[in-house]
Symmetry: C2
Subunit: 219 residues, 2 copies
C-alpha cells in the first residue's frame, strides 16, 4: 500500500486515540461527580456527549472514505474494519459515562440514607482497561490485549461483591430503595464499560492472531 494510505491509517489511529482520551475524561468526570455528589459536573458529562457522537461519526466516515479510495485487502482491510468497530465501542463507553452521570443527577435530588459506596477501585480498573485496550490497538500488542481480558474478570468479581453489598443495604434502608437502586445501576454501568473495553481488546487479538477469539471460538 502507498505512503498516502499509511498516512491515512496513522491519522485514523490518532483520531481514535483522541476519542479514547475524551471518553476517558468523561468517565473520570462522572466518577468524580458520583464521589462528590456533584450534579453540575454530572451535567457536563451529559451535555458534552454530543462531542463524542460527532467524533465517532467523523471517524467512521474517514474509515469508509479510506476503504473506498484505497480498497485495501488482507491485514489493512481487517485493520480498518477493526477501527470502525472500536470507534463504535468508544461511543458506547461514552454512553456509559452519561448513564452514570444521569444516576448522579437523580441521587443528588434524593434524601440520602447513611450509605457510602466506594467505586474507586472499579473505576480505576475500568479506566485502565480502556487505556490498555487502545494501546494494544495502536501497537498491535497481543500481550497487552490479553491483560485486558484478565482485568475484565476482576471487574466482574468486584461488581458481584458490590451487588451483594448494595442488596444488603436495600434490605436495611427500606425507605431508601429508590436511592440505593441507583448505586446498583452505577455498578452495572461500570461493568458494561469494562465489557466494551474487553470488546476492543478482543478485536485486537482477532486482528493480530488473524483468527477469531471472540466467544472463545477458534475458527
Amino acid at each position: 500500500m502507498s505512503g498516502y494510505f499509511q498516512k491515512e491509517l496513522s491519522e485514523i489511529k490518532k483520531r481514535i486515540l483522541t476519542l479514547g482520551a475524551l471518553v476517558e475524561k468523561h468517565i473520570q468526570m462522572a466518577a468524580e461527580a458520583l464521589d462528590k455528589n456533584d450534579a453540575a459536573l454530572a451535567g457536563k458529562v451529559i451535555t458534552g456527549d454530543y462531542e463524542v457522537d460527532e467524533m465517532e461519526v467523523k471517524i467512521e466516515e474517514e474509515c469508509l472514505k479510506v476503504l473506498a479510495l484505497y480498497q485495501p485487502v488482507a491485514v489493512d482491510l481487517r485493520f480498518l474494519i477493526a477501527g470502525i468497530k472500536i470507534n463504535n465501542e468508544l461511543e458506547r463507553i461514552g454512553d456509559q459515562a452519561v448513564n452514570i452521570a444521569e444516576r448522579v443527577e437523580i441521587i443528588t435530588r434524593k434524601k440520602k440514607p447513611n450509605f457510602v459506596f466506594d467505586y474507586s477501585v472499579m473505576v480505576e480498573k475500568a479506566r485502565n482497561m480502556l487505556k490498555m485496550s487502545l494501546d494494544s490497538f495502536v501497537n498491535l500488542d497481543l500481550d497487552l490485549a490479553m491483560k485486558v481480558l484478565a482485568l475484565d474478570d476482576e471487574v466482574d468479581f468486584i461488581q458481584k461483591k458490590a451487588y451483594d453489598k448494595i442488596k444488603a443495604a436495600i434490605t436495611f434502608h427500606t425507605d431508601s430503595v429508590g436511592y440505593l437502586i441507583n448505586f446498583l445501576l452505577v455498578s452495572r454501568h461500570l461493568e458494561r464499560l469494562a465489557d466494551h473495553a474487553t470488546n476492543i481488546a478482543e478485536e485486537v487479538i482477532y486482528l493480530v492472531e488473524g483468527e477469531i477469539v471472540r466467544h472463545g471460538l477458534k475458527s
Copy 2:
C-alpha cells in the same frame, strides 16, 4: 458490480436473516422461561448461545471476504459495513436473551414472594422491533426503520413504569430484595435488547439516506 457480487450480497442478507430468526427464537424462549418459571428452558437459551456466536463469526468472515474480493465502493461498500455492524448487534441481542435466561435460573432457585410481573407487552414490542429492523435492512425500507425508532420510545416508557412498580414491590417485600432485583434487571435487559434493534434501524436509515442520523446529527 458483477452478478457474482450481487449473489454474494444476497447470501449475506440471507445469513443475517437466519441469525436474526435464531436470536428471536432465543428471546421467545427466555421470555417463556421467565413466564413459566422454567429453569430447564432458560438453560437451553444459555447453552444454545454458542450457535449465535458461531454464526456471527462466519457472517463477519463472509463480509470481509466479499470486501477483499470485490472491493466494492459507494452504496455497496456501505451496505457491507452496515451488514458487519448489524451482525454484531444481533450477537448482542442474543447475549441479552442469555442475560434474561440467567436471571430466570436465579429466580427459580429463590423463595418466591407474592409478586407477579407481566413482561409480555415489553417482550412483544422488543421482538417486533427486531423483526421490523431486519426487514427494513433487507428491503432498505426507510419508513419501517423510522417506526422502530418510535417503538423504542414506547419500550423506554414501559421500562420506566416497570422500574417504579418493582421498586414499590421491593419496599413492600423487604425480605425478597434478592429475588425482586432480578425483575429489575430483566426489564433493563429487555430495554437494552430494544436499543440494539434501534441501532440496527439507525444503520438502515444511515444507509438509505446516505447521511448519519445516529446521535441525532445530520452530517
